[in-house]
């Protein structure tokens, strides 16, 4: 069984601020880590491999230093890794990112199952997984809570649908995005770190793609444009209300209604 896991390097902290005067992003240090939700996807892959055997490949897209998350995946037990990186991918939005990774996946070759985390902590969109599945022409299921059974040609999963839980069987090849807590991710192993320190990380650039049309990547392949960024309004209002009980209770009800809690 060939399992591909998509991982991403994200900033180590979400404490990013924008300078309200200059409009410049202020980042504290350059600390980075693997997107925490991806750890669940990787753990799911490792559990499936333990049961059914097979090969786990991880793929990431980003600058050269994003190789670090692949090394980390090796320490957890991934077998192979590839970094999709090119200056021409700069400024990619969700659509261009999904297309780029799907081209990288095609370059890597055959697969039965692609696993993604449910979202990233820096983009927070949860959109790249489903868009990749579309580009690869395979079905997908989002928010998988549990793997119930792995069959020869399909997998049975439990998915979260807000008020209900659905059990569905999906044929390979397919893509699943897994929810947090599907399995407890293992820690990277020191032994594996030593074993894999020289393991090759495949580099994939635009030239390796089947579709080399520059217009489909990076800023040129991105339909969305960020017009501006600005700091949010912070609600620091402090109000004190006094009066008769009937006035006060009515005031509370009115405010709750205005805030859409009623």
């Amino acid at each position: 069984m060939e399992i591909l896991v998509c991982i991403k390097q994200v900033p180590g902290t979400s404490k990013v601020e924008v300078d309200s005067i200059t409009g410049v992003l202020k980042r504290d240090g350059v600390d980075s880590k693997m997107n925490p939700y991806d750890l669940y996807a990787l753990e799911t892959a490792l559990k499936i491999k333990e049961e059914r055997g097979g090969l786990i490949k991880v793929i990431t897209m980003g600058p050269p230093q994003a190789k670090d998350v692949i090394s980390e995946a090796f320490m957890m037990g991934a077998d192979e890794g590839a970094l999709v990186s090119d200056r021409k991918f700069a400024g990619a939005d969700v659509l261009a990112t999904s297309y780029t990774i799907s081209q990288g996946v095609k370059k890597i070759g055959e697969f039965d199952l692609i696993l993604c985390g449910k979202q990233t902590t820096d983009g927070d969109t949860a959109q790249v997984g489903p868009e990749m599945a579309e580009y690869l022409g395979i079905p997908h299921i989002s928010n998988v809570l549990k793997i119930i059974e792995i069959k020869e040609k399909s997998i049975i999963v439990e998915m979260d649908m807000a008020d209900t839980v659905e059990v569905a069987e999906i044929q390979f090849p397919c893509l699943l995005t897994v929810d947090k807590d599907i399995y407890q991710p293992r820690l990277p192993s020191y032994r594996k770190k030593i074993e894999t320190k020289d393991r090759e990380i495949k580099m994939i650039t635009l030239n390796d793609f089947e579709d080399k049309d520059e217009k489909k990547y990076g800023i040129n392949g991105s339909p969305t444009q960020v017009e501006r960024i600005f700091p949010p309004d912070v609600n620091n209002d402090r109000e004190t209300w006094t009066g008769s009980s009937s006035q006060l209770s009515l005031k509370i009800a009115t405010k709750l209604k205005e805030l859409k809690f009623i």
Binding site: D86, P139, Q225, F261
Partner: protein, 402 residues
């Protein structure tokens, strides 16, 4: 084609470090006497705007513009499970009508499912001009391929300029799939939407964990797509008279095949966990006896809230230990917390002071809970809570406008 270029001749010893530092993504490098931009670049163009003058330049060439006049109307995806329409749908209809007014567009709904024809009628009471219904047995359960196919058919048929989809489990799975099929932009979890005169949709969403707001447009592609979470927009008032029409759409059944089979659907057993609660009613020592928990429970029920408490009430045994807020209990960050009869010791407030909206009712005007509350109400919970319950009950009555 757009690109970022570096005028190497303008780079010198004095400005090179300034240039490298200006990039928040560390994407500018100085390698053997040349400035290189690596793959970490997000094309934020800060180096052009704020870096040394004239060094970095952004070259933009005119792109082929989409003919925006061919794309009219605002479409809303009707989010539902087995025909029960999710309320986010009505909120989006309200927003769509507001946006449509700016450019004189119609508002459409696309309703995909099985046995839903009659349910579509309800949508007409919210001011939708036309509801497009795809009613097939294959669409009974949400499965990605047939739902995407029906959605695609709707877009091709109607050519809506913008599409709004609820950021529910289904919406967050379906919208990206449709966006990729049309190679168009999709902005997740928008909190503000505005319409420009030229029909471009201005989409604003929190970025980087909510510390920054990003204003996003999709100027060269149609349809423009956004997802919006529940309770972000206002629901429109229900109209007494239904307006608009329902169109039953046909689709080639071969497009409705799927590699997914839904085997079982079960109602979720919700285990109350105050850490995940959106609304919390917290009680403290202002509550005099266990039987008074009844009025607290009643209020909580009306607000779809969970009941939590201070350590004192846990020790009294009136509230389960899992429901304790504070340093020795849980930390909560709900959208709304109402603190009733709680003095506000730091051991308690440390576990809840990052909640989005904090209401506090306390008899003592000097109680420290008022230092963290957004709305501090000086009064007796035994008088206020029963009246508040009545007020909420009265406001819940369904009415419509003519």
């Amino acid at each position: 084609m757009s690109r970022l270029i570096c005028n190497q001749d303008k780079v010198n010893e004095t400005n090179v470090q300034e240039l490298i530092n200006v990039c928040p993504f560390s994407a500018i490098e100085y390698i053997s006497g040349k400035i290189e931009v690596n793959a970490g670049c997000k094309m934020c163009k800060i180096c052009v705007k704020k870096g040394p003058v004239g060094v970095m330049e952004f070259i933009e060439t005119q792109e082929i513009q989409v003919d925006k006049s061919l794309w009219k109307g605002i479409g809303v995806y009707v989010d539902h499970v087995e025909g029960v329409i999710h309320p986010v749908t009505f909120e989006l209809i309200g927003k769509a009508r507001e946006l449509a007014k700016v450019v004189n567009f119609p508002v459409y709904c696309v309703f995909i499912g099985h046995d839903i024809k009659e349910k579509a009628q309800e949508l007409l009471n919210y001011g939708v001009d036309e509801v497009f219904v795809y009613d097939y047995e294959e669409l009974k359960d949400f499965r990605i391929e047939p739902y995407t196919a029906a959605f695609e058919d709707f877009v091709n048929k109607v050519k809506p300029s913008s599409l709004l989809v609820g950021a529910t489990t289904i919406g967050r799975s379906l919208a990206p799939r449709v966006a990729a099929r049309f190679r168009t932009g999709l902005t997740a979890d928008c909190t503000i939407l505005k319409m420009k005169e030229n029909t471009d949709l201005v989409q604003i969403r929190p970025a980087f964990g909510g510390n920054i707001m990003a204003q996003i447009i999709c100027p060269n592609n149609r349809p423009q797509m956004s997802t919006v979470r529940y309770k972000v927009m206002d629901a429109p008032e229900k109209l007494c008279e239904a307006k608009g029409k329902i169109t039953i759409c046909e689709i080639d059944k071969s497009k409705l095949t799927s590699n997914i089979e839904v085997l079982k659907v079960t109602k979720k057993e919700v285990e109350d966990n105050i850490s995940d609660a959106e609304v919390i009613i917290a009680v403290g020592r202002g509550l005099k006896s266990e039987k008074d928990m009844a009025m607290i429970e009643e209020l909580a029920k009306l607000l779809d809230a969970q009941v939590a408490g201070t350590r004192r009430l846990i020790e009294e045994g009136w509230i389960d230990a899992k429901k304790q807020i504070g340093l020795s209990g849980r930390t909560v960050k709900p959208k709304l917390i109402i603190a009733l009869g709680i003095s506000g010791a730091v051991q308690f407030t440390a576990g809840m002071n990052s909640s989005e909206r904090i209401f506090a009712v306390n008899k003592d005007a000097n109680a420290s809970i008022f230092n963290v509350a957004h709305y501090g109400i000086v009064g007796d919970i035994y008088e206020i809570v029963p009246q508040l319950i009545e007020n909420i009950k009265n406001s819940g009555a369904e009415f419509c406008v003519r």
